[in-house]
Subunit: 324 residues, 4 copies
Amino acid sequence: MSFELPKLAFLLPRNAEYVGQWHTVPIGLSRQFQAQAESRLFLIDAALLAGRLPRRGRFGHKGTYGHALLLLGSRGKIGAAVLATQACLRSGVGLLTVRTPAVGYDILQTSAPEAMALTDPAADFLSELPELTPYSAIGMGPGIDKADSTKVVLEQLLRTAQVPLVLDADALNLLGANPDLLALLPPDSILTPHPKEFERLSGSARDDYHRLELLREFCHKHRCYTVLKGAHTCLGTPTGELYFNTTGNPGMATGGSGDVLTGLLTALRAQHLSALDAALLGIYAHGRAGDLAARHTGEVGLIAGDLTRFIGPTLQELTTPDAF
Amino acid sequence: MSFELPKLAFLLPRNAEYVGQWHTVPIGLSRQFQAQAESRLFLIDAALLAGRLPRRGRFGHKGTYGHALLLLGSRGKIGAAVLATQACLRSGVGLLTVRTPAVGYDILQTSAPEAMALTDPAADFLSELPELTPYSAIGMGPGIDKADSTKVVLEQLLRTAQVPLVLDADALNLLGANPDLLALLPPDSILTPHPKEFERLSGSARDDYHRLELLREFCHKHRCYTVLKGAHTCLGTPTGELYFNTTGNPGMATGGSGDVLTGLLTALRAQHLSALDAALLGIYAHGRAGDLAARHTGEVGLIAGDLTRFIGPTLQELTTPDAF
Amino acid sequence: MSFELPKLAFLLPRNAEYVGQWHTVPIGLSRQFQAQAESRLFLIDAALLAGRLPRRGRFGHKGTYGHALLLLGSRGKIGAAVLATQACLRSGVGLLTVRTPAVGYDILQTSAPEAMALTDPAADFLSELPELTPYSAIGMGPGIDKADSTKVVLEQLLRTAQVPLVLDADALNLLGANPDLLALLPPDSILTPHPKEFERLSGSARDDYHRLELLREFCHKHRCYTVLKGAHTCLGTPTGELYFNTTGNPGMATGGSGDVLTGLLTALRAQHLSALDAALLGIYAHGRAGDLAARHTGEVGLIAGDLTRFIGPTLQELTTPDAF
Amino acid sequence: MSFELPKLAFLLPRNAEYVGQWHTVPIGLSRQFQAQAESRLFLIDAALLAGRLPRRGRFGHKGTYGHALLLLGSRGKIGAAVLATQACLRSGVGLLTVRTPAVGYDILQTSAPEAMALTDPAADFLSELPELTPYSAIGMGPGIDKADSTKVVLEQLLRTAQVPLVLDADALNLLGANPDLLALLPPDSILTPHPKEFERLSGSARDDYHRLELLREFCHKHRCYTVLKGAHTCLGTPTGELYFNTTGNPGMATGGSGDVLTGLLTALRAQHLSALDAALLGIYAHGRAGDLAARHTGEVGLIAGDLTRFIGPTLQELTTPDAF
């Protein structure tokens, strides 16, 4: 039990067996007081997100909501591409083009007819970066491989992209294995590692607290936003704040869950949200969609594809009703 | 706030930031009076549509409801073909044959088993017009490309078609780039451009009002019905009337939304509705399906495939109950 | 308005415009009296079907419910194969094997994983009859073509099949074009023509009454059950009875609706129901599924694939509750 | 009618026509008394399962819930692979890799994007065992064939697997035809034969009682758990207990039902449940999912794919609520 807010210790995996189920007890502190309190630790809850997702204007058209590009998939992991694609479509993007190796063509067009498929000339792995002019944000990672040709695509992307990036999965592992690539990372990129992927980027953490220190340092050094995925997903920012998520459940610990998050974040970035707003909204909505899905499937029965069905209602809840 | 009916100015994008949310206030004008008032501007609402969609007769069979042909798709945009196909099926057509390049075969037959697939001999683009005898209406555009071979297909279509046409997307862009083709347009065709596509056909508009003038001129000159897509989609007719739609929401500003409209309109034309009735019903039903879908998905989460699920209930609402 | 039962004239298409909506008025005739009245005209309603569909026994296994074979599809019409397959699966068959040309392989296995696919060596048309030993009933027709090779398959089927047959679509057109094949028809086969297909088999009808005479003669001569599809689908039997259906709606006048019926009938025959019981139950359940579907989609929006969702609940209603 | 518990005789197929519908009548025996009574016959009901499925811990991640490998499918039976895959995903596994012949690649990735596909180099049959290091449990059987190359894969699997195995369908038939393979069976494997498959393993049974004796002997000799599928599926254990299931219905007597069970059991084993707990939970949940599905589809209309939708809610019911 804790006054007003949880202690940081409650949110860390290593304390799981000592903490159990916790509750906060209001003691009458005003929200305003809390907001003024000097802290670099925040909870991502509905109050924090108020006003960050504007309502769509009456006269918006496809172009208003951006054109995302997703670089996804390799032989055997086209499913990850499908999940990221469907999640991106469900997150309000105006247009979506998906780049997969040729092996993914029929699968993508059957599973996500709303997306355009710009197939790579190589059959099994990404091998060429397409022309980037049309796009307002680019996501790369779900289902790709660490093939040499894919590393080249990533390097070209980092060198030439003029729009926001979201990087996940083997795009992160390629960065971890090639620190020279990491140096090319454009500012305000969003990275979404799980703890092992993060340690390949940052070096080993001695414990959960040290991992948070490493997260702060990494975000500062690379001027990026890093989503450290876990039970209480933690967003690190270039300026040193840490934001801990309050939504989600252990049913989401299942293959493809992260691919959905990548699609979601890329869509929000493509709609011209700031990296901070996109990351906060995306992390929260992803967990909340999982909570809504689990009401239907149970935690055990939850699969990643279920999440995409509930992204829409979740983003609707978060939309500021009175904005134009 | 406006008496009885909105002002035209409320419906135009350039006034968006000054107008905000508007309401009409009844002041006791009789519907009959309004009907007699001389105006060439109309709202597309349920009252206007009463009686335009007859109920199906008890003894109707597949042949009664027409056989539509859709010319759709190119490599990477077979999804547009899927969406137009599914929408056409949901709009009451008796039979549907879909022509796509060969790359679309498996995708179409998996996604829309109710449609027959008459695959083009070319792999990636439309290259040959099929024999047109069986069909009662033909739609062309969603997902096609501006390839030379496709231009030839369009030209052959315009020269030989004896049944109603619906043209969209790159079929319109090909018309815009080849004014000689535009001269071949059969009377009573329906065109469905968004504003940029329209300006490729009509020349640049100075402002929203000028665009409406251009719309009137274009429809008159080419004896066609033009659906200028937008927040208040506007139908222009050969005789100079403009009809503004009252359904729809900004969640529909998403890739594939227009493909759905093309399928819907082609189905209505195949069922022997007049161009005017088909256009009015199709525009309204498309927006209304979007409004019903958004109740489930939210506006942000809406994708084009959602629209097809709600076309049926919408057309049911519009069906005249007492017709034979 | 009619006493107790409709007049035959109410059920015939040519009287449609004179009859309109009709109702029956009970005048106290006992059901028993009606049953004893000498008539060869019957209505297919719930009362007629009571007791014809036994409840599944507790210890039944896959083998108890038969193994159906469906011969389906050709290039461009694999969708018809999908619809017949899904309907057959939903109608209680223990096992289902589907024979399509090779072009249908991926489509079928993606759309109906519960069915086994025994692909024909030819790419586009059926060309070889598989070994028939495992099967308890066989359906042929939806989506096939009139190719010479397919005619040979049909002929081999008629010559060698030892189990009940259901024939539809181009299987019927092949019979109509090759009267020598018709002579091979095994007794108790079920044929499911629409009026045009029927006239290719029976010769032209002068009017609706004459068509019913031709139906009686045809069923008698070929010792078969013929389902003459229409608003009031009429089943003719070898012994001269005519059964008129009371379920269904004009939304079912859409491509693929008949394919669903073929799957349904083949499944019931595979489960060892008599030709009469299978035909009566299948006709009624098909129409009833359409009525249930139309409550969700509206009549205009109904597509054939919707029917399969409601076959199960319909057959459940018809199951005799107290049988073992 | 029986006091407290059914007699064994009620549960055997050969008595079906004499037993009919039975009920138990409580006579006040305490549950504790029953638990202490010396018996090697048990009913699988909710009480027996209490505490066997722990709730997911807050900080679990994908790795916590295991990585399953499924060896599935052959040309024409990729549908069986799809069903086992979808069921495995719905049963809480952290990650799933599926090995099918190459013919199954597109089908699997379209139907189950959450699974990774590790395609066999052979087109039509399994021919090579992949490297087994990543996996925490392995299932083999649904949709495979008795091809020589597949027999070799099975033999390699039995010789090298260090993790729990689940074997079904033609994997069992290969064991039955090759008793030398049976001798390689790792202890605590789960086998899921139907009665005919079982007799190929154990020799012929004279009657239902003898079959249960053979089941006890077989499980003892091979130190395995054998799920003898039927109306009252019976689990035999290495130590001689027999557990009879109380869920399920005859609508589940349909192709693919067993494939779903294999996926379910493999997922539970991959999550580090004991063979006994996995078998008991899997058998019960499979039948219960069928009971829930039949409420929507009716027994006749039930198909195997329906079961997967209800596995999640069923496992949720069985989850121990107060575990960490």
